[in-house]
C-alpha cells in the first residue's frame, strides 16, 4: 500500500472515529437531558421553529441580533416535533461541524508537513475534550463557527502556500459563512483581509494586492452586507442588530448599570477572565503545550513566512474575545473570579482547534521528546474525562446560562395542553418556557406574531387565556405593555414561580376570548 493510500485509509479511520464519538455523545446528552440545558440552545431551536410554524411563520422570524445561518439550516428539519424537541435539528449541524473540524485539523497539520502521530494527536486533543463533545451535542452555534472558521483558515493557508486564486475564494466563502453564524467571524474577516493584503503586496505589488483584497472582501463580506440589508428591510434600521432593544449592547448596558460588567474598559481583567475560560475549557496543559507549539512554529526556519503568517489566523478568536470583553460587547463570568457563577464560559472553547493544531505541531517538532508530550497530554485528558470535567456543562447546569423553567413549562404542558386558548408571552424573555412547554408554537402570541402581539398587548382580555410574564419587570415586554391595559384586571395570578408568573383570565371572560388565528397572510 503506497503512502497516499495509507494516508487516505488513516483519514477514513479518523473520520469514522469522529462520527462514532459524535453520535455516542449526542445520545448520551440527549438521554441525561443536558443537551437542552442551555437557555440559548432552546432559543435557537425556537427561532428555527418559528420560521416554519406559528401564528406568523416566515423567514422574518429569523429575527435580528443572533446571526441567521444556523437557524436557517434548521428549516428543513425543525418542522418535525421530534427534531425540534430533541434538539437534533440544531445538534445535527453541530455534530457535522465537529467531524468537519476534526478533519480540518488533520488537513491543516498535513499542510504543515506534520507526521501521522502529530496529526492524530492534534485531532485527539480537539475531539477528546468534554466541552467540545458537549457543545457538539447541542443546538448551540460554537461548533458551526469553529468549523467554518477553521475551514477559512485552512484554505487561507493553502492559498498562502500555492497562490491559487480558487483557494482564496474558498477561504472567503467559508469565512463569509462564519460571519453569518457569530460576530467572531467578522473579526476573522478583518484579520484575514489584512493578511491577504500584506501577503499579496509583499509577493507581488500594490495594485495586485488591492485587487486581491477586493476579491476577498467582496465574497467574504457578502454575508455582512446581506445582514445589514436584512435588518434594514425587516426592522427598518440597518444597525438594529447592534443598537436595538434586544441587542448585546442593550444587555451589556443593563449589566454595566448593575455593576457586574467589570471587564468593560479593563484590558487586564478582560485578558485574565478570558485566559481562565480558555484554560478551563482546554484543561490547561494542552493550552500551555499549544503555546509552546505556536512559538516553535513561528520560529521554524523550515516553514515559509507565508505559512507562518497564515497560521496566525488561528489566533484571531483570542484577540476577538479579549477585545469584545474590553469594549463591553461581551460578558463572561468565571466562578470565583467574577462572582459565584459561570456565564458564557464556553467562549473559551473557541481556541480549541488552534490549540490542537499547535500541539500537533509541537509533537512533530519534539523529536525524541514527542512521546513525553503525548504521554503528559494523555495523562491530563484521562483525568479530565474521569472527572467529567466540563465548565460548559457546569454553566449549563448551575451557571447563569441555564434556566430551570420546569415549573412554568410543566404547568403549561399540564393545563394548557388540552385547553383551547392562546398564551401571551415574551419570546425575548421566555423562549426557554415556550420550548420546554412542549406546546406547538402557534399557541403562543409573542413579539414576532405581528398583529396578534399588537392586539393582545392592547386588549389582552380578548386574546390571551394565559399570560406568562415577570411581574413588575419592564424588561419583560409583556408586563411592560399588558400591565398598563384595563384588560389586565380580568386576570388572576395563578402561580408565582421562578423566572415568571402565570396569569389566567377569569372564567367570566372566557366567552369573549379569541381562540382561532384570524390574521392570515401577515407580511
Amino acid at each position: 500500500m503506497n503512502v497516499t493510500n495509507s494516508s487516505r485509509l488513516f483519514l477514513r479511520l479518523i473520520f469514522t472515529s469522529l462520527v462514532v464519538l459524535s453520535v455516542v455523545y449526542y445520545l448520551r446528552f440527549l438521554q441525561n437531558g443536558l443537551g437542552l440545558a442551555y437557555n440559548d440552545a432552546r432559543s435557537h431551536l425556537d427561532i428555527g421553529r418559528r420560521v416554519v410554524e406559528g401564528l406568523k411563520p416566515g423567514l422574518a422570524q429569523l429575527g435580528s441580533v443572533w446571526l441567521p445561518l444556523t437557524h436557517a439550516l434548521m428549516i428543513p428539519t425543525i418542522g418535525n416535533d421530534f427534531m425540534w424537541h430533541s434538539g437534533l435539528s440544531g445538534a445535527i449541524q453541530s455534530m457535522a461541524a465537529f467531524v468537519a473540524t476534526g478533519i480540518l485539523i488533520y488537513k491543516f497539520l498535513e499542510r504543515l508537513k506534520v507526521g501521522s502521530l502529530g496529526r492524530l494527536v492534534g485531532v485527539a486533543v480537539f475531539a477528546v475534550n468534554l466541552n467540545v463533545l458537549y457543545l457538539q451535542s447541542t443546538a448551540m452555534t460554537e461548533l458551526m463557527l469553529l468549523a467554518t472558521m477553521t475551514a477559512g483558515c485552512y484554505k487561507l493557508l493553502v492559498w498562502h502556500q500555492t497562490d491559487n486564486l480558487l483557494e482564496l475564494i474558498q477561504s472567503a466563502f467559508w469565512i463569509m459563512l462564519s460571519t453569518l453564524i457569530r460576530y467572531d467571524g467578522w473579526f476573522l474577516l478583518l484579520f484575514s483581509t489584512i493578511l491577504v493584503a500584506l501577503h499579496t503586496w509583499k509577493k507581488k505589488n500594490y495594485s495586485t494586492a488591492e485587487g486581491m483584497t477586493i476579491i476577498f472582501c467582496t465574497l467574504g463580506g457578502l454575508g455582512i452586507a446581506l445582514w445589514f440589508l436584512w435588518n434594514q428591510l425587516i426592522f427598518k434600521d440597518a444597525l438594529y442588530f447592534a443598537f436595538g432593544p434586544f441587542s448585546a449592547r442593550a444587555q451589556q448596558a443593563q449589566l454595566s448599570a448593575a455593576g457586574v460588567l467589570a471587564t468593560k474598559g479593563n484590558l487586564g481583567l478582560s485578558t485574565k477572565i478570558y485566559f481562565y475560560a480558555l484554560m478551563y475549557n482546554s484543561y490547561t496543559l494542552p493550552a500551555i503545550l499549544g503555546l509552546i507549539g505556536a512559538i516553535i512554529l513561528l520560529k521554524d526556519k523550515a516553514l515559509s513566512l507565508s505559512t507562518k503568517l497564515a497560521s496566525l489566523t488561528l489566533l484571531a478568536p483570542l484577540a476577538f474575545n479579549i477585545l469584545a470583553l474590553y469594549l463591553g460587547f461581551s460578558v463572561l463570568f468565571v466562578q470565583g473570579l467574577s462572582g459565584n457563577t459561570w456565564f458564557n464560559v464556553r467562549y473559551g472553547v473557541m481556541l480549541m482547534p488552534s490549540i490542537a493544531i499547535f500541539l500537533g505541531f509541537l509533537v512533530h517538532k519534539a523529536g525524541h521528546l514527542r512521546w513525553t508530550v503525548v504521554g503528559l497530554t494523555a495523562f491530563v485528558l484521562f483525568f479530565a474525562m474521569a472527572n467529567q470535567d466540563a465548565v460548559t456543562i457546569d454553566d449549563a447546569r448551575v451557571g447563569a446560562s441555564q434556566k430551570n423553567v420546569s415549573e412554568v413549562a410543566g404547568f403549561l404542558n399540564t393545563y394548557a395542553k388540552n385547553q383551547p386558548g392562546f398564551i401571551l408571552i415574551s419570546a425575548a424573555s421566555h423562549d426557554a418556557i415556550i420550548f420546554s412547554s412542549g406546546l406547538p408554537m402557534k399557541r403562543f402570541i409573542h413579539e414576532g406574531t405581528g398583529a396578534y402581539w399588537e392586539a393582545a398587548t392592547t386588549a389582552p382580555e380578548r386574546w390571551a387565556r394565559w399570560i406568562i410574564m415577570r411581574t413588575y419587570d419592564d424588561n419583560d415586554l409583556t408586563w411592560k405593555f399588558v400591565s398598563r391595559t384595563q384588560g389586565f384586571s380580568s386576570y388572576d395570578l395563578l402561580f408565582h414561580l421562578p423566572f415568571a408568573d402565570v396569569y389566567e383570565i377569569r372564567s367570566d371572560y372566557l366567552s369573549q376570548l379569541q381562540y382561532q388565528p384570524v390574521f392570515k397572510n401577515q407580511k
Binding site: M279, Y280, G367, F379, F383, A386
Partner: protein, 507 residues
C-alpha cells in the same frame, strides 16, 4: 586529584550541615509524652504528617500492634484513620518501615526519634550523591556534578524535608536509584531492582506509582531490547515482595489487603473518652457533624483526589505563589532549562525519561486538591523534580562556557536559594497556605505571615528546631550566628566548586 579532594570535602561538609540541621530532641518518649508540646507542635513533630508516619513505627515497635493506642491516636490526629472501631494509619507504611532501624538504633542510645529523623537525612545525602553521579553520566564535570547535588540538597525545599520526617527523600531516592540503574547496561539484577523499587515506592507514597510509569516503560523497552536471555523478563516479578508486604500491612490494619490508606475514614479529633469527636474548628458551624463522630459513614475515593480543574491553580501554587512558589523558594531551579536544552539538542537518550518523570511529578501534584501540601515549606511535592532539575543544572553549567555572567547568575541564585531554604530547615516547615491566612488571623487576633518571612521571624525569635542547636549550639551562639555558621560552609562549597570548574575548563 584536586577535584576529587574538593568534592569529597564538599560531601563531608554536606554531612556536617545535615547533622547540624536535623530536627530532634534527646530522649525516648512514651506515647503520652509524645502528646506534650515539647515533642509535638513545639518540637520535632510539629505537623501531623510527621506524627502520622512516626506513629506507625512507634506502634509496631513499642506496642507490637498495627492499631494505635488512645494516646498514640491523639498524637496522630488529625491525620488519623478509623476502621472497625480501631484507630489506624492514614499513610502508606513504607517510610515508617524504613525509619524503623534508625529508631531501634536510636533507642539504644536514648534518642529513638532523633535517629528516625537522621535516617531521612541519610536518604537526602544519598540523593545528593546520586544527583551528582547522574549529572556526570549526562556530561557534567566532577565539579558541576557536585554543584548539582549541592543545589538540590541545600538550594531547594528538599533541605527542609531532609531534616524532618516526610516521605519525599525516600521517594526521590527510589526514583534516582532506578534512573541510575537504567543508565547502566541492563542485566537481570539491575532490572529486578528497578521493579522492586517501583513496587516499594508505592508502599512509601501511593502517587509514586504514577511517577514510576516512565521509569517502568523505559525499563520495559530496555528489557525487550536486550538480546537473548528472556529470563530478564522475569525480573518483573521483583514487584511481588513489596506488594505482599503492603498487602500484609493493609490486612492487619484495615482488614483488607487491597484497601488503600487514603480511602480509610478520617478522624479529626478524639474526645475525652477516647472516641472520635468534633474538632474545635468545626464546632458551632453549619457543617454536618455526624461524619466526625461516625467516621465510618465517610465516603472516599482514590481517583477523586486528582482533578483536571485544579491544574491551573496547582501550577500557579507551585511556580509563582508567594507561599509555595519556586520563584520565591528555589529560583535557581529555572536554570535547569539550559541543561535540558543542551541534552535535547544533543539527542541524549536519557532526556525523555527525565523530562517524563519531572513532567508527571509536576502535573500530578498540580491536579492534586491540595498543592500546598497542607502547612509546609515551599512546594514539597516537587522534591523529585528539584532533583531532576539539579541534574540539568549540573549539565548546563558544564556545557555553557564559563562566562562570568553565567557563573555570577548561578551563584547569585544559589546564595539566595540556600539562604531561604536554610531558614526553613532550621526553623519550621509549618507555614500556612495563603488561603488559610484570613481564618488564622481571625483566630489568633494578629497578623500571620505565609511566606519565608515567617521562618526569618522564627529565626529572630530564636525558635530553631535543630537538635545540634538545642543540645549544644545555643550555649555558644544565638540563632542568627548559628544560621550563618551553617550558611557559610554551603556557600563557600558552592563557590569552591564553581571556581574549580572554571579552572578545570581552562585546562
Amino acid at each position: 586529584m584536586k577535584g576529587k579532594f574538593l568534592t569529597i570535602t564538599v560531601s563531608i561538609i554536606a554531612v556536617i550541615v545535615l547533622a547540624g540541621s536535623v530536627r530532634g530532641l534527646l530522649g525516648n518518649p512514651t506515647a503520652s509524652e509524645l502528646n506534650t508540646p515539647r515533642w509535638s507542635e513545639g518540637g520535632p513533630f510539629e505537623l501531623s504528617v510527621e506524627r502520622g508516619r512516626f506513629s506507625v513505627t512507634f506502634s509496631l515497635i513499642e506496642d507490637g500492634s498495627f492499631h494505635y493506642s488512645i494516646p498514640l491516636a491523639r498524637f496522630a490526629v488529625p491525620d488519623l484513620g478509623y476502621k472497625d472501631g480501631k484507630y489506624v494509619s492514614l499513610f502508606a507504611p513504607g517510610l515508617s518501615f524504613l525509619i524503623a532501624p534508625g529508631y531501634l538504633l536510636g533507642k539504644l542510645i536514648g534518642s529513638g526519634p532523633l535517629l528516625s529523623y537522621a535516617t531521612v537525612s541519610l536518604f537526602a545525602f544519598l540523593n545528593f550523591l546520586l544527583v551528582g553521579v547522574i549529572s556526570r553520566k549526562l556530561g557534567a564535570s566532577l565539579f558541576t556534578g557536585s554543584l548539582a547535588g549541592l543545589t538540590f540538597l541545600f538550594a531547594t525545599p528538599a533541605f527542609a524535608y531532609s531534616v524532618s520526617l516526610y516521605q519525599h527523600h525516600a521517594s526521590t531516592l527510589l526514583i534516582l536509584t532506578s534512573i541510575y540503574l537504567l543508565t547502566q547496561p541492563p542485566n537481570f539484577k539491575r532490572l529486578a531492582l528497578v521493579w522492586f523499587f517501583m513496587a516499594f515506592s508505592f508502599t512509601v507514597d501511593y502517587p509514586n506509582l504514577v511517577m514510576f510509569v516512565p521509569i517502568a516503560l523505559f525499563a520495559l523497552v530496555k528489557t525487550f531490547n536486550v538480546k537473548k536471555s528472556p529470563i530478564k523478563l522475569l525480573s518483573v516479578l521483583a514487584v511481588v515482595p513489596p506488594l505482599v508486604l503492603l498487602g500484609y500491612f493493609n490486612l492487619k490494619s484495615y482488614g483488607n489487603p487491597f484497601q488503600l490508606a487514603g480511602t480509610i475514614s478520617g478522624v479529626r479529633a478524639i474526645d475525652a473518652q477516647g472516641r472520635p469527636g468534633v474538632p474545635q474548628a468545626a464546632q458551632n458551624t453549619q457543617q454536618d457533624l455526624e461524619r466526625f463522630v461516625r467516621p465510618e459513614i465517610q465516603k472516599k475515593s482514590a481517583v477523586n483526589f486528582f482533578k483536571s480543574r485544579n491544574l491551573l491553580n496547582g501550577l500557579y501554587i507551585h511556580f509563582i505563589s508567594p507561599d509555595r512558589g519556586i520563584i520565591y523558594f528555589a529560583p535557581i531551579v529555572i536554570l535547569a532549562i539550559f541543561g535540558a536544552s543542551y541534552l535535547f539538542r544533543s539527542h541524549h537518550p536519557l532526556l525523555p525519561l527525565l523530562i517524563s518523570v519531572l513532567g508527571i511529578n509536576l502535573v500530578l501534584y498540580s491536579l492534586w486538591g491540595d498543592p500546598w501540601g497542607g502547612w509546609g515549606f515551599g512546594s514539597r511535592y516537587l522534591i523529585p523534580s528539584y532533583a531532576l532539575s539539579a541534574i540539568f543544572i549540573g549539565v548546563g553549567l558544564s556545557k555553557s562556557r564559563p562566562k562570568p555572567l553565567v557563573s555570577a547568575l548561578f551563584f547569585a541564585l544559589f546564595v539566595y536559594s540556600v539562604a531561604v531554604n536554610l531558614a526553613g530547615a532550621l526553623t519550621s516547615s509549618a507555614n500556612p497556605p495563603q488561603v488559610e491566612i484570613l481564618a488564622l488571623e481571625k483566630i489568633s487576633g494578629m497578623q500571620q505571615k505565609y511566606t519565608v518571612g515567617r521562618n526569618f521571624d522564627h529565626l529572630s525569635a530564636g525558635r530553631l528546631k535543630s537538635f545540634a542547636f538545642k543540645a549544644f549550639g545555643s550555649k555558644y551562639f544565638n540563632s542568627w550566628q548559628y544560621y550563618h555558621l551553617i550558611l557559610f560552609p554551603i556557600v563557600i562549597s558552592g563557590l569552591g566548586l564553581l571556581v574549580g570548574h572554571t579552572a578545570y575548563e581552562r585546562h
